[in-house]
Amino acid sequence: MSKPKVAFYWCASCGGCEEAVVDLAEEILQVVEAVEIAFWPVGLDFKREDVERLADGELAAAFINGAIRTSEQAEMAHLLRSKAQVLIAFGSCSHMGGVPGLANLFDREEILRYVYEEAPSVVNPQRVRPEERIEVDEGMLTLPAFWEGVQTLDQTVEVDYYLPGCPPPVGLIRSALQALLTGNLPPKGSVLAPDVALCAECPRKPTKPERLALKELKRPHQVLIDPETCLLAQGLLCLGPATRSGCGAACIAGNMPCTGCLGPTSRVLDGGAKALSALASLLDATEEAEIERILAGIPDPVGLFYRYSLPASLLHRRVGNGERLREGRSS
């Protein structure tokens, strides 16, 4: 009997997720042993036709990383969806929109204008912009459509499982693969990571005081960070309490606060709002002015609370355009 076929594909992403697969190191050989890689543009030379040729459901599983911003990414997502029995959103971008999702703070026009006209490194006097269709002697050339906003994979096609993280921690990938191969999978729609927040596995947990009252909020570059004590206790904005565990607190080990790449637990509808609520609760102030003074330590709330999840959040995208925002003025 032939080995189960799997596919890997990337959309709006940085390639880190692909690295993560390679990070399986020698274990990848076992994977290759166990499955037949039917499609993996990054790794080997495949063409879209190779996928189109497959029968529906012929793929045992498809792993898609990256967010969805273009018509081409959406097409590939639909294509793989139809060919795969199990579709897995791989990494923060496909799970929640990821860092590319922060583009939802600006509208399409602003982005194009900046990238093709205003960016300091750009010289483009004719203000040439990429066109979706252009007639040349050889015929019609087309480009994928660049959508108004970024969306998550499950806002595009139905997703069976999510492998969270930026990139997904090797440990989670491993157990996910095992689950797939052995077929003992959790209920559809699950996130393949522990459903308890990061503090649970944080080595610094014992150093967190029971009565934390923050008078000052600091950012990593502003302080010498003590490598032992809880980062929140040091006034650093660590999202550990609001983020799934499963990464072994890797960032904390690197003496950096958690930025929330594994996303919220299953009980939470909007991770950013929850993190915001928890953090605000801990401020040590009752006077409006004093509260504002402390909150000035959060110059960019969206960047802090929704670094990986803006498209997945309730608000999803900025209202109006980000002009004034980019010029640093508030609307």
Binding site: L105, Q155, S281, R317, R318
Partner: protein, 169 residues
């Protein structure tokens, strides 16, 4: 909001969700009723035990599901039935406003008011004022969000099939 169509100004009826604490503001709203103080019908009151129960998720959910404004009502500082819940509400509210600002939503769409049990007239005043403010701002035009908003399934007591799809049939 200059881009708002002129005819819209007349037709637009603000949709406002109000989260009132049981002990002060909700009671004040009852008092406004007993005193027959009529006010704008746009306010939909949801009762919480304390303004401290107000989870910022509720506010965002309200906006996402079509609210043009959200009003939070709690006891006056120092008067909280639960001693200091209203201070927590205040902190969350102030941070939330910063978030809304960055998301391009006018801050005035979120308002926090301290209204004690005896201030029925303030409920009337605030309800009317706030409705007017929102009317002036016009409808909140959130970018449409693709996909279903799934209720945090694990947060439900044993979910019914209907519950799984956040929105009911």
């Amino acid at each position: 909001m200059s881009e708002r169509p002129v005819e819209g100004e007349r037709s637009f009826e603000p949709r406002i969700v109000a989260f009132f604490c049981n002990w002060c503001t909700y009671t004040a709203a009852d008092l406004a009723g007993t005193a027959r103080m009529t006010y704008a019908p746009n306010i939909r009151i949801i009762r919480l035990m304390c303004s401290g129960r107000l989870d910022p998720q509720f506010v965002l959910a309200a906006f996402r599901h079509g609210a043009d404004g959200v009003l939070i009502g709690g006891c006056h500082p120092g008067d909280c039935h639960y001693q200091e819940g209203n201070y927590k509400a205040l902190r969350r509210y102030l941070l939330l406003k910063r978030l809304l600002r960055e998301m391009g939503i006018e801050e005035e769409r979120l308002r926090l008011e301290w209204i004690s049990a005896s201030e029925g007239d303030r409920v009337q005043k605030v309800a009317n004022e706030f409705t007017e403010t929102i009317r002036r701002l016009g409808p909140l035009r959130l970018a449409p969000r693709p996909g279903v908003i799934r209720l945090p399934v694990a947060a439900l007591p044993e979910p019914s099939p209907a519950a799984r799809e956040g929105a009911l049939p």
